[in-house]
Amino acid sequence: MNILVCISNVPDTTSKINFKEENTAFETQGVQFIINPNDEFGLTRAVWFQQKVGAKVTVVNVGDASCEPILRKCLAIGADQALRVDLQPKDGFEVATQLAAICKKESYDLIITGRESIDYNGGMVGGMLATLLEIPYVANCIQMDIASDEVSVQREIDGGKESLSATLPLVIGAQKGLVEEKDLIIPNMRGIMQARQKPLEVVPPEAAAPASKVQAFEKPAEKGPVKLVDAEDIDGLIDLLENEAKVL
């Protein structure tokens, strides 16, 4: 089985978000980058399939050279090889287009993207990639098992979950649940050493245009101070929620 895991390079969840160039670009100075958490859940499941059924795991990132450290980290976690499409993408459509080109060169049985990236929150790469490849997509995937060609997956839906049967090839949008937090693999010294020897290939991008572009960023307005209500004065809180905030 051939698995492709699509990896996005995102700011650490504790990062302060700031913008530069008159609010047209994200300020990366001082920001630590990590594997997008949803992608990491997906990668961990892929490594599980590698260990259980000998699947080959390739990770791919569409990004510039600054993304290589996280690809090395993916290799240290257990991926067999890495690809980097050398392009600083402008939107999710552009990423999906580049990934589709990769998937047409080599056939993958299972393609894993994250549910969404935690920076642009576009939530579109998996669905677009699957549709470009004319194969099915399962969003918000919280469980997946494969027995020969039979795939069973679970999708988180609003207020519950849905169990589906599917066939390969398939694209899934990974999130927590696919593996648990405790299953995440912290690379050990051996993994890190091995990762240095594993192939990381830089692929030139296909000619393709984005479908949208960010014109400007903006930070939310500063919030006023909290109105504190005494713990004895519950009526006071109810009154504020009812008559001031008008939410009851």
């Binding site: 969840t13 504790t14 978000i17 913008f19 958490p37 459509f93 935690i118 642009y120 929150n121 576009g122 939530g123 579109m124 998996g126 669905g127 677009m128 549709t131 470009l132 099915p136 997509y137 969003a139 918000n140 919280i142 069973s152 839906i157 609003d158 207020g159 519950g160 979950k161 849905e162 169990s163 589906l164 049967s165 599917a166 066939t167 398939l170 927590k176 937090e181 405790k182 479908a211 949208s212 572009k213 960010v214 014109q215 400007a216 960023f217 903006e218 930070k219 939310p220 909290v226 109105k227 504190l228 209500v229 713990a231 519950i234 809180l237 109810i238 929620l241 905030a245 939410v247 009851l248």
Partner: protein, 317 residues
């Protein structure tokens, strides 16, 4: 030319998210001087769509299919959009809405923009404001394609009535083969989901253990609210993962968010910040949540919450 909206439904009745999308679609259609075309599946109770100014409803009969079927629904939406020459398509930001949006965008050669928080700031080329960095920022995004699929953040536009009469058309757009098959759906039918809720009551590690969750559930019951929790609470198995909210869990955009025994870590706040009014109940006055909240009580949840629940119950009667 037309604006096409996808009306989500439950047991044949449009959901609130579907009505909000219709309402928003009406405003877009008026701005363009075009008609508003709604696409729904197996709707039995579609009169409510008249209230929100839908001109035409394609009520698609999936011949007994009761579950959301991404392959069939996306194909139907794409075909209707093509038939009526839609320039704009709108879906909600529910799990199903976000699922189908990017797929329809590729099928119709459209751009896709998620988490849209208001009417476009510009038409032609279309430009919208959307949230990014999990609610830590916004961006203005402009389409470079002629057609656009928008996914509207819930509760960001609201319901605006504009009575009319929708012409109802039927039809079916079967797909040649379904590779995905829904085997079963598990859903609590007696509880509102976080995505649909106007009010969300959320508990953190401060509640000390799962045995104390009646505090959260009782309060939620009185308010008709959904229940949620912080990440460690779901990681420890006190509550199901489906209740985990925040940057790596579900996003919340309710009208009222009540956080009890939640410290207000940056990753938690990021996910719930889109809620309009935030209330915190926490024994530690230094808890970061107080900086993000509108109203707060410094106090012991075990004392404050039962009183709040009782008083609200009395008030409702």
């Amino acid at each position: 030319m037309a604006v096409v909206v996808y009306i989500e439904s439950e047991n044949g009745t449009p959901k609130k998210a579907g009505l909000e999308v219709a309402s928003y679609g009406r405003a877009l259609a008026d701005a363009h001087g075009v008609s508003l075309v709604a696409v729904g599946f197996n709707l039995t109770d579609h009169e409510r769509l008249n209230v929100f100014g839908v001109d035409k409803l394609y009520n698609i009969d999936t011949q007994g299919g009761v579950h959301f079927d991404v392959e069939r629904y996306s194909e139907a939406l794409a075909q209707v959009a093509t038939k009526v020459s839609a320039s704009l398509m709108v879906v909600s930001s529910s799990a199903d809405g976000r699922y189908i949006g990017p797929i329809v965008a590729i099928k119709t050669d459209a751009a896709y923009m998620s988490n849209v928080v208001g009417l476009p700031s510009q038409y032609g080329p279309l430009q919208v404001k959307r949230t990014c960095f999990t609610n830590k920022a916004f961006n203005e995004t402009q389409s470079t394609k002629e057609r656009v699929v928008l996914s509207l953040s819930s509760n960001s536009y609201g319901l605006h009535e504009k009575p009319g009469t929708a012409e109802v058309l039927s039809g079916d757009y079967p797909v040649s083969s379904n590779s995905l098959k829904v085997e079963s759906v598990e859903k609590a039918t007696d509880k509102v989901s976080i995505a649909d809720a106007d009010i969300v009551v959320s508990g953190g590690r401060g509640l000390k253990g799962p045995e104390n969750w009646h505090l959260i559930e009782d309060l939620a019951d009185v308010l008709g609210a959904a229940t949620a929790c912080s990440k460690p609470v779901s990681d420890m198995g006190w509550r199901s993962h489906s209740e985990h909210v925040g940057q790596t869990g579900k996003p919340v955009a309710s009208n009222l968010y009540i956080a009890i025994g939640v410290s207000g870590a940056i990753q938690h706040l990021a996910g719930i910040n889109a809620s309009k009014v935030k209330v915190v109940i926490n024994s530690d006055p230094e808890a970061p949540f107080f900086k993000a909240a509108d109203y707060g009580i410094v106090g012991d949840a075990f004392e404050v919450v039962p009183v709040l629940t009782e008083k609200l119950k009395a008030r409702m009667q």
